[in-house]
Symmetry: C2
Subunit: 151 residues, 2 copies
DNA sequence: CGGTAATATTTCGACATCGAACTATACGAT
DNA sequence: ATCGTATAGTTCGATGTCGAAATATTACCG
């Protein structure tokens, strides 16, 4: 459209794809936020709770690896979850550098209260794509997400 | 039960697609950040500068609409850009509620210094996808991003 | 053993981000 | 003109996010 950019065909195609990908995830997340399926917790907090719910108790660092966030960020998010009694920290007895994070009963209940509506919202949002379109999108994302791993 | 089975299949497919989409953009952005093509400015700041560069001076609210961010966020980001003399605020003479945001010479220079490398990085990242795969991805993202317009 | 490296987490400062409440200004209907 | 509402931006408080430096602890190695 009114892009004053005068680049090669490959550049324009890439920029177009990049813009659409970015806007797609932006507006998807913004619509999901509007549905308010998470109630009074934040997306980051839900990501941590969900990881613990599906994968079991983990080291704080492992949680960060699962949700793709930095260690210092994990400290902050888990601080808030602990303050709200949704998780519990437990220092490892053998290796005292390590902290294990566990869901509390309240935390488990929170995930189970949220999950069905959250999944229903996702299914509804993705219903604009057919099954094969979703699989196609997943495949392309997987490829792009992995990157040129064989550098 | 067939109903439950189909529902679960749809849910699993959607969840899989959602996870891959999320991880794709996450790791793509993280790799782009690692390349450090933006130098000493943040991605948000670059988004604002780039919008002003390609579309010309705009109202602060218009900038927020372009980069899909809230008004209060625009105040913050533009504050920092103004502090670094990359943009200039100018209150409208007729409607004194409005603030026009302009690129300074330093701002223009900054964009022009960054843009080529930034685009090259994008092209390189997207080179794991063929031209038709990129177009396919762009189309799927456009559809998913638009959502059920009936809303 | 003892000293250095590696690892896990926290702290700190800077920036981003939002929504709600607030200020200032403009506009529309009566 | 005036009142009420709508609009543009700012302020505020909370959260998220990062990287660098600090802390604590363990592991390695000569």
């Amino acid at each position: 459209m009114p892009t004053h950019f005068n680049g090669s065909r490959a550049e324009m195609r890439t920029l177009d794809t990049f813009i659409k990908l970015t806007r797609c995830t932006n507006s998807l997340f913004s619509r999901l936020t509007e549905r308010n399926t998470l109630g009074d917790i934040t997306p980051s907090q839900f990501a941590v709770l969900e990881a613990l719910y599906h994968l079991g108790s983990m080291t704080q660092g492992e949680v960060g690896a699962k949700v793709l966030k930095s260690g210092s960020n994990m400290t902050t998010v888990i601080d808030n979850l602990e303050r709200d009694s949704l998780v519990r920290r437990e220092r490892d007895a053998k290796d005292r550098r390590v902290i294990h994070v566990h869901l509390t009963e309240a935390g488990t209940g929170k995930v189970e209260a949220i999950l069905p509506g959250h999944i229903a919202a996702l299914v509804d949002e993705f219903s604009v794509l057919s099954a094969s379109e979703q699989q196609s999108l997943a495949g392309l994302c997987k490829k792009l997400g992995k990157g040129k791993s064989s550098k």
